[in-house]
Symmetry: C2
Subunit: 400 residues, 2 copies
């Protein structure tokens, strides 16, 4: 089998962690597998580098920031290679420009465009373990880029896709994907399998195991993903297109605090008013999630919607600036809300899922201010202070 593995910053934080990971790699290699290993920067390296930069320039260019930050992964790959060499294993490191991993030109947020596989194949043909620096790439000017949040996961999945790998294993500090945040919900259980779509919904809902970009990429190229722990030897969660039918209809419960609700009251009830409102918001490059429009009984309408917390003030300002053109009475904004969601591919084919969820919330005395549904997800907006109680109640209802 050709396996691409990725180990995050906490898995290579120090010599002890690196040796632990080297042990996992050695085991897989000795089983006869071909291995490509993607590494992140060690623990706090990136933060330390950002701090050094801040001492010199509060607002450095992204190009030079990428030159700086990409050293973190380069240090990780060299150290891991040394650990494997000391065990007598054949190994070679490759930075992103050595692969090369070609990206768009957007420094700090580059997208992978093409991965050349010739050198990778040559090294694998020599039965070498290939250690690749994650998070980074090379743009058309031969400048260093970085991939932004979740970058190393994306590197791993993209390599797996380019090499048609049999499996892409994402090693992290948790044992897999859980039915709820195990730090909050004691009865949370590890899922054996989950579909790409379910994983996408869970990731976007704040279950910070895999970044959406990598899951989207895995779905597009049909890469079999496994999320598992580098600290505990146990099977993790497999992410793939179709999973076995499970007893439970839903895969997990998640919450997202990074959300704010904006309400526009007293809008003129005229054709295209919703379009005009959201054109203003999207011009400010803000994504809107749940939308609720009042049913018009009077000559005016109300529109509520959610945006990422960080964008709340910008959105309000942009709308206020267009008050005359839009013609509304008032705006209110509230960041102390949470989105609580249940996710499950089998949800829509089963009846009563939403009812069960609402019942759980009713029993727990949690007020719902907005509701949104999709093929595989039901989300409700609740007060932030009610969110944990809501998750526990829903989890108990479905998994208890």
């Amino acid at each position: 089998m050709l396996i691409v593995q990725k180990y995050g910053g906490s898995s290579v934080a120090d010599a002890t962690c690196i040796k632990r990971v080297a042990g996992i790699i050695a085991e897989r290699y000795s089983e006869g597998h071909d291995l490509v290993v993607v590494l992140s920067a060690q623990g706090d390296t990136t933060d330390d580098l950002i701090e050094k930069a801040a001492e010199l320039n509060p607002n450095p260019t992204r190009r030079e920031m990428d030159v700086l930050l990409s050293t973190g992964e380069q240090i990780s790959i060299a150290l891991m290679a040394m650990a494997l060499e000391s065990m007598g294993l054949p190994v070679v490191t490759l930075t992103a420009w050595q692969v090369p991993i070609r990206t768009s030109s957007d420094y700090s947020a580059a997208r992978i465009k093409k991965i050349e596989t010739e050198r990778l194949r040559n090294e694998l043909d020599k039965r070498r373990i290939v250690i690749v620096a994650g998070f980074q790439g090379l743009n058309k000017n031969d400048d260093i880029t970085t991939l932004g949040r979740g970058g190393s996961d994306t590197t791993a999945v993209a390599l797996a896709a380019a090499l048609h790998a049999d499996l892409c294993q994402i090693f992290t500090d948790v044992e897999g994907v859980y039915s709820a945040d195990p730090r909050k919900v004691k009865s949370a259980r590890k899922l054996d399998e989950i579909t790409y779509d379910e994983m996408l919904e869970l990731a976007s809902l704040g279950a910070q195991v895999l970044h959406n970009r990598s899951v989207e990429l895995a779905k597009r190229y049909g890469v079999n993903l496994e999320v598992l722990s580098s600290f505990v030897r146990a099977s993790g969660t497999i992410v793939k297109e179709v999973t076995k039918l499970e007893t439970s209809k839903i895969s997990g419960v998640a919450k997202d605090n990074n959300v704010a609700r904006i309400a526009i009251l007293g809008l003129r009830d005229e054709p295209g008013i919703a379009f005009k409102v959201f054109r203003v918001v999207s011009s400010a490059k803000i994504n809107v999630d749940i939308i609720l429009q009042s049913i018009g009984r009077e000559s005016t309408k109300d529109i509520s919607f959610t945006v990422p917390s960080a964008d709340m003030d910008t959105a309000v300002k942009a709308l206020e600036a267009q008050r005359d053109a839009l013609g509304f009475a008032s705006i209110s904004a509230d960041a102390s809300v949470s989105k609580v969601s249940i996710v499950g591919a089998g949800m829509m084919s089963a009846t009563g899922i939403a009812t069960l969820m609402f019942e759980a919330l009713y029993d727990a005395k949690v007020n719902i201010s907005m509701i949104s549904t999709s093929e595989i997800k039901i989300s409700v907006l609740v007060n932030e202070s009610d969110a944990d109680r809501a998750i526990q109640a829903i989890h108990d209802k479905f998994f208890g």
Copy 2:
């Protein structure tokens, strides 16, 4: 003018140092000069990385060591660029592979083979300050190499040669080249000018200002070098082919403690015996410096010679292993010796220089065990405990 500047690790050790250097660069740039700036790794970065490596592998491969260590200069160039950006200056960084600086394949001790100047020229044409990572290169496999000791100086001189720069300035933590070590000899004075050959002799004698490789390269390509301080704004020492005639016949006095004397006693007096002895030593890849062969009065000969201290034991072992083939009575070795030398291009055309030196040593009651002379240098081997006294006495005699 096109100026290549190089700043060493102590000149970029922290944010304060980086800002100080950025100030020097900004000043030169505002005078209208084109600037290429070569940087070393910050202060202790390299040592820290070596320590990290040692935790994982006592004997890592040089390839991976180079991958690891080359991150140090990459961090320096990004930080310096950020400091210059914050001053509103146009700047771009280039790692060695981006230039590219092509080297031989010898990891950790690569030689520069070719520097492509197209990208450098393009960036300079845009009136950008170009910051280049020192100490590193790219071999024919597109692997990262490092240049070994004095690597960043070599990078700077090689860039100056390739770009036909008007001047190559090596910034360090001393104000230039001195007639003796200013920490030891109070009356030591800074030299305004010195020839390449004198500098080569001084460098090899332990005046650790410029590494020999960079001086050799400067001599070969006629690069005008200046050694100066990044901490004090003052002109330094110019190193070039021919200097103005100076009053003093010698340029400097230096000592080298990194030397050991090996004496082989009772060698068979037969043709080729010296050749046989030194073939053994050179097979062990050890350089021999001063050689003294006894004038044969008897049927046996004695040969004494000096080697670097670190190689003493290896040399003795290699010779002992060939005792039967060489046929000698005994070997003695002594690491507690120093080589004290005077250097000066005008030395041989002036009479009595050696006599003056020996007189100074006689007055200071310093015993001489070996003597070696060249066109521009006279060296004597003395007890290590006498070396500082010897230097002071010689310096007083010539410069006092």
